[in-house]
Subunit: 345 residues, 4 copies
């Protein structure tokens, strides 16, 4: 059994992690921490677990007494809050999977510019592997620290990677229009995410300013070997879970839809969690699962390629991918604990 | 033109009041106050008004400089917060319509027991007319201060009043099961009313403990001349607006559905905002309007009467009824500014 | 492995069954039928299964060629449609779990009065065990045919059973106010269940006329040994899944809340899927799981007991309970394939 | 008073028209038709009108007896269904505002290719003015027949028109990503628009195939004087009303955001229903109103202009714009009957 600790278990991402690790047959949760709910029964915070568990949230300060009991910690904290605990864990030879955003951006200045905090664990930045298994599987297997990708970046990178690698598209014309459910905004008590402010409405937000932009650009640049700038527009949709990303691209070559489908199917043929599908994705078909659905359309009139991807922002976009990374890091079946489809309706 | 001030214009009830007074052809808004948004353009808080208005929120402290400009103030404040402003206005010969709950309960001890604050304007308690026009129309016309009914009480009292007055039902067996949209919980930033905590779920809350219980009981007792205790269960429903109340009653007499319909239709035949309807009400048919729909069913097997009513909690349950009261207090057409049906879908 | 066939796999209940049997480690699906989607890949109807399965829907007429391959069939058909297939299966020594409503009502006249069709498999009516394990566990274990309870009845009977058995309540005063998500209305293309007709609204329907009334009354009468008539009001709530039932009861004895809690906890202490909880249930805490949450409140002022229960209408209210019954009928762990909490948010 | 008839009053667009004309002080409804609800009281179909109106739906065949009673008819019919009634009305000197799509596309072959029906009123095609007042105000004033724009085209054309006219953007790079509420799909009983199929999900549909593409392209080409091809992706969002369109454009010139704002504000300075706003639009701020909100962002890194617009698909996107056109055609205040903001929350 892989013994795990969850740092920040009461946010939505942390809770999703708890869920997946709870049902995982090869992992067991040794401790969980919570800033706002320390000393409370976890099943009093999330009453769905009543009768299933008896975990109590501990303070982050008390992790030091527990760190020796675990093989890996998951950190699910606001940006800028994970430096100390990550350093501490690594020094104690405990592996780290950071679901937060502190180890994703490799360039310190870029990180500090977009996140407005000083990076205080720079020495681990390069060691931290960007945890998208479809790109970095082998590196993840041997890493001590994984930077779990953001939700939007996961949906965008899986959509774009084969097209970029095959040099199908004009790299200066990448436009991504993404739509997210409200859980992406977290569980903080803000007026903007109240039911009465979100329901029956849609809005774009953070146009050209969202913190996932440098993350997406970094990875796209790594894939293509050139510096890439994108246009990225996130939206808030009146649903709890799900991200749908639509990528608009200019084709470099005269290549038809069927051929691009072949390329995508080939790239993802061995991937346990990517489905290249002929129909247009809907987030409900991946909700609650670790699946990413990808579909392609070529518009001949404009010479454009449109790629659409759908994920569950809390699963493939956060906790599910983190578990997938854990499975890789500990040498067990990569899909362990994640082999279930979306439950609908 | 009736000149009005709104104290507490940025909560949902206050905003609904602003909306209705804005489109009212015989009222004009002279000032509005806000605790959290003082000095801000109202159309920066509620951007739907952009281009329509130029009102700026003032501090409640500055009402003293403006009080002479108005004929009436509406107070839409949390309980326990309206005493000073109400006393001040009345002393300045400005009428008051209190949308809050501070002047509804006539018995001070009952008020203080349920609301946990000391009542500091007791001398106006008796003068304050309970503002349900269908009961107190004539008193409202000549009053200086009106206590606007709560949202649940409005839906319940309109449903029960004729049955009680006609002595059709066992007064010891009144059970009310009410369902409300989330806007009833207000615009405060609480985790409990976040989209992700309310959507795709229903719950009962405050069973036998809700503050609207003494208000409903007081008015039912006044109607019947006997002290009445009720069972009342409110629910939170994943919709923004609307209250549906289902009243379960034991019939005293062997009386059929048709006859009770006759009684109800007769009671409400001249009411501009009560519809006694043969079909089962749905909140969408009253959403955004000042209408209360009422339907009746007799279950012969159990000798029971079931009365179902639907209102918009923010209109007939708050701001619309307040405008109706204003119209009465100033001797203009009672339905002025309120003569529109629900906009659907 | 238990080999199963699903008759009517493309309705919401049938699909939920498919989901649960797909992830069940001790059952395998041998065939599925569909009236509207015969010959189609199941994963083209429900695209969440893409990549997980390769099942093709067959015609019900073709079950005859497959019946020998299975140990049990689940029938999830509209009322009046299951008689032939049930008779055929039983004659072939294949067990039957009927998720529909054709074998629940033991009195033929009552069935025919409420359902408006002739019952054409009367000889199996008495043999069919009403499949609420919390009442009939032992009988289910040895039965060939189980009539799986309706969704509303499941939520009501679990709430009321201990109070009735202990003779705590006045049997002439049972009132049940239930609220259901829209999936309870099925997947037929009706205007009434369109998004634009259901969202942002709540309504009661079928007041005192719903077909689950005779089912609830039959079982309550069996429990208490007296004929019981209830008042039952179902509601349509703008959410996909979940039922919340609130039962209003008159206490016979002067008994306090704590004592009733003790009784309930004792009754359900060994039940794998019933949680007696101190807080008020919310459907989100049971959504997607086979759990039923039950809470109690005594209102001393009126001598009343209020019992609130929450289930997922498609799981404990349909497919989950059916799997629980299958587990019992085949002598395996009753909770097999059902041991997971609700996934939230 | 302008006397009007509504052909097809029971779809969502027709109903919205009924609502707006009902509250319009200078129009009165003389007759309404319905295919599915002929001879029914309109308030039995849409119960929100109970007590407000007594209109009865007539058959379309009976319009011939009523045509002389009206000055104008609104046709709100499926495509291909309005030819006969439009010809008949015009011959009787009754004006026509077609909310459907039969008179928008000027090129018959294009119409027939995209709509798959033969156009049977070609002689009126050229006469029919495309009813976007912000473009064709003067022509509308003197027209007998107006082709009311589609919902998506309205949101897109208002967003793009000034940029095109000022030649700010590369005309080969227009990408529009639009999101619509479910009411855009109409009131037909389809599985795809059931609550349980739409709620908690988002999807793109009709990518590069939607029938509004030739309409948008025709008008953009007219504005720019060049043939324009666009990429257009519509989405279905789990809300009832609203369209948010995000346009991605390549800037031709080095021009900053402030300057483009100036241009847009200047273009729309006299428009009663277009607001050029600094913040990002949300559909709730225009819901139920005839307003179109437009916002601009320049992304200097990529030399791109992003324009975002929000409308209510049933008001500015259909019925409200139709009323605006009627006002123009009859020489009354253009904003008559439409001067109200969105009601929120």
């Amino acid at each position: 059994m892989i013994k795990v600790g969850i740092i920040g278990a009461t946010g939505y991402a942390g809770q999703s992690l708890f869920y997946l690790l709870h049902i995982h047959s090869k992992a067991c949760i040794e401790f969980i921490t919570s800033h706002n709910y320390a000393d409370m029964d976890y099943s009093d915070v999330y009453k769905n677990y009543k009768g299933f568990i008896s975990d109590v949230c501990i303070k982050e300060d008390d992790v030091k007494y527990k760190i020796n009991s675990v093989d890996v910690i998951f950190t699910a904290l606001p940006h800028g809050k994970s430096f100390d605990i990550v350093k501490f864990a690594l020094e104690k030879n405990v592996k780290v999977i950071d679901i937060g955003s502190d180890f994703r951006i490799k360039d310190v200045l870029t990180y500090e510019k977009w996140y407005k905090v000083k990076h205080e664990a720079q020495k681990y930045l390069n060691e931290a592997i960007y945890g998208l298994p479809e790109i970095n599987r082998e590196k993840i297997k041997s890493s001590r620290i994984v930077a779990n990708p953001g939700c939007y970046p996961t949906s965008c990178l899986l959509a774009l990677m084969p097209a970029l690698k095959e040099d199908l598209i004009d790299k200066t014309s990448i436009i991504i229009d993404s739509k997210s459910g409200v859980s992406g905004a977290g569980r903080a008590a803000n007026i903007g995410t109240l039911f009465c402010e979100c329901s029956e409405s849609i809005k774009a937000y953070g146009v050209c300013e969202h913190r996932h932009i440098p993350e997406i650009e970094q990875e796209l640049s790594n894939i293509s070997g050139e510096e890439i700038n994108i246009i990225f527009t996130p939206h808030l949709v009146p649903m709890i879970r799900g991200i749908l990303s639509v990528c608009y691209l200019r084709l470099k070559k005269d290549i038809d839809e069927e051929m691009i489908y072949k390329i995508y199917k080939s790239y993802y043929s061995n991937e346990p969690f990517v489905r290249v599908v002929p129909y247009l994705p809907e987030t409900r078909y991946v909700k609650g699962s670790n699946i990413c659905d990808i579909s392609l359309r070529v518009d001949k009139r404009t010479g454009s390629l449109i790629i659409i991807s759908a994920i569950d922002n809390l699963i493939k976009g956060a906790a599910g991918q983190a578990v997938q990374n854990m499975n890789l890091m500990f040498g067990i079946d990569e899909a362990s604990g994640l082999k279930f489809p979306s439950m609908i309706p």
